[in-house]
Amino acid sequence: MMSVKKKGVLGDLKESLIQKIFQTSGLLAIIVLLGIFALLLYTAIPAFREVSLKEFLTSSRWDPTSPEKPEYGLLSMLASTIMVTLGALLIAFPVGVAVAAYLSDVASPRVREIVKPVVELLAAIPSVVVGFIGITLVGPMIAKIFNLSHGLTALNGSLLLAIMALPTIISISEDSLNAVPISFVEASLALGANRWQTLVRVKIPAALSGIIASLMLGMGRAIGETMTVLMATGNARAFPQGFLQSVRTLTANIAIELGEVPYYTTHYYALFAIGLVLFIMTFFVNLTADVILEKQKRKLQ
């Protein structure tokens, strides 16, 4: 009797210990996120002792080391970030969804076995390598096609980010296409629809929220990408006039300036304020993606 009871106590202890470990791991992720947010907020706020929030958000001139008058306007870089990101998605989304549809509906299992890992490998290319390709291959090609003197343009950045966003878009879109219940497909085919009609009118609409979520996650990836755009887009501070001009994104600006900035100066705090803006942007993009994915899960159950 005694021994059994003892074992029970030990077992309970073990169980609650394991439970606590898992609980802590889960909590840790939340704490880290909140910690980063708090740190950003704490370091960003002092910037606004000298810079008005209005200047920060509405001025398009950023020149903190100017000998004339330091300026802290975010707008040009915000516009550049949005432009490069949207450009990337405009290219990557149609291609990504087409590849996902091909993988889930058309490709033979053998082809899929080869193509899928290759697509996933695409995600493993370091961003600095993609940037290098941008400088040496894609940039000069753009210069030649559009008859420009150089190819360090927003278009260059968009093309490269499109490549980097593709794996995310393809794999999540394909997963959501595969998650469409087979009964949907069978019903469609039974009603006389061919495979194309089934794909376009039944499967894609059913998987739409997942596909949109893949778009949002791809967008999150593109907004946050730093090294590639830093290398490929020329980093001119002017307000973007078009895809064939040099632009500087928010991420590139932080990477360029954080290394040199004297600590605890307005410039230093302002860079953290940019970081905060980026954090908020990617947070909402990812949150939207999550909400949409959750909705789809419930819809299909």
């Binding site: 150089h150 360029i256 040199e260």
Partner: protein
């Protein structure tokens, strides 16, 4: 709730521990950490290699990043020796003194800042005022200067660069750069861009103009500079003109320590200033330092 507070405590403990590990203790090791100017990184790297070959047991690591990066590193105590191609800014000195850092500055070489264009560009000479106008964005087309009808494509360094600050102060007359300047990550990238861009113009340290064989890189044209409309033109490739200060945009390249350099660091600086070190400086395309600066260096070493 209790759990969370305990966890935060644990995290704080970890943070403190990790801070303890990365604090100056690691810088105290034998390895001399040098950081800063991109213009100087190759030169100092070669000086360090020669020095290490002569003194077994010496270990020196040289990093780039820009003059501002080096100066910030000295202020924050994350390197032993900073390379910088511009002087300290008053703001940086204030910050250093506030933190108890006492910079000691040594001039180790002289650089002639070179204005480069593509070799196909017909322009040969510019005045200082013209270079200033170009980089301020006031002159936008090569036609104005007698070149082809092409939009000028500007290449420059990032604001952490000493070269960026030097040009802004001495050639742009402390006015803002044009926002259209494409900011490249170092001298080598500017050279790469200008060799490809027919209407490009950029500025680099003189040491970067040469390839391994000691010849000016292909695809580049190094412009001659006039102080003003009436003065004669000089090229940064003309040694005599730089030594006699006829070439208008030359500047000393500096290193600095926090307080009196340690024995190991002082020994390396002495090597750099020795005839042997200065010969390397010249071989790398830069210029030897003059008598006055050398005397100042001696004082600072003591």
């Amino acid at each position: 709730m209790k759990k969370i507070t305990a966890l935060i405590g644990l995290l704080a403990l970890l943070l403190v521990a990790s801070l303890g590990l990365t604090s100056p203790a690691s810088a105290q090791k034998k390895m001399i950490q040098i950081k800063g100017s991109d213009t100087m990184v190759n030169l100092v790297q070669i000086l360090a290699e020669e020095y290490m070959a002569k003194k077994p047991g010496a270990a020196i690591a040289v990093l780039g990043g820009g003059s501002g990066t080096g100066i910030t590193a000295i202020i924050n105590g994350t390197c032993d020796l900073a390379n910088h191609s511009r002087e300290w800014k008053p703001k940086e000195l204030d910050l250093a003194y506030e933190k108890g850092v006492r910079p000691r500055i040594f001039a180790i070489a002289v650089d002639a800042l070179s204005i480069i264009v593509n070799e196909k560009n017909p322009i040969e000479t510019l005045t200082m005022a013209q270079v200033g106008s170009i980089f301020r964005g006031e002159i936008k087309n090569w036609k104005v200067l007698g070149g082809p009808d092409q939009k000028i494509s500007l290449y420059g360094r990032q604001s952490n660069s000493g070269t960026y600050s030097f040009l802004q102060e001495h050639v742009l007359n402390n006015k803002n750069y044009s926002p259209d300047v494409k900011e490249m990550n170092g001298n080598a990238q500017i050279i790469e861009a200008v060799t490809q861009d027919l209407s490009g113009i950029g500025y680099v340290g003189v040491g970067y103009l040469y390839d391994e064989k000691g010849e000016v890189r292909k695809g580049l044209k190094v412009l001659k500079i006039k102080k003003d409309d009436n003065s004669p033109e000089y090229s940064p490739l003309d040694k005599e003109a730089v030594y006699s200060a006829k070439y208008a945009i030359s500047r000393p390249l500096y290193q600095c320590t926090n307080g009196k350099p340690s024995a190991a660091v002082a020994d390396f600086i002495r090597f750099e200033l020795s005839p042997e070190g200065q010969a390397i400086v010249e071989k790398e395309g830069f210029f030897k330092i003059g008598k006055d600066l050398m005397e100042q260096n001696e004082k600072n070493l003591r």
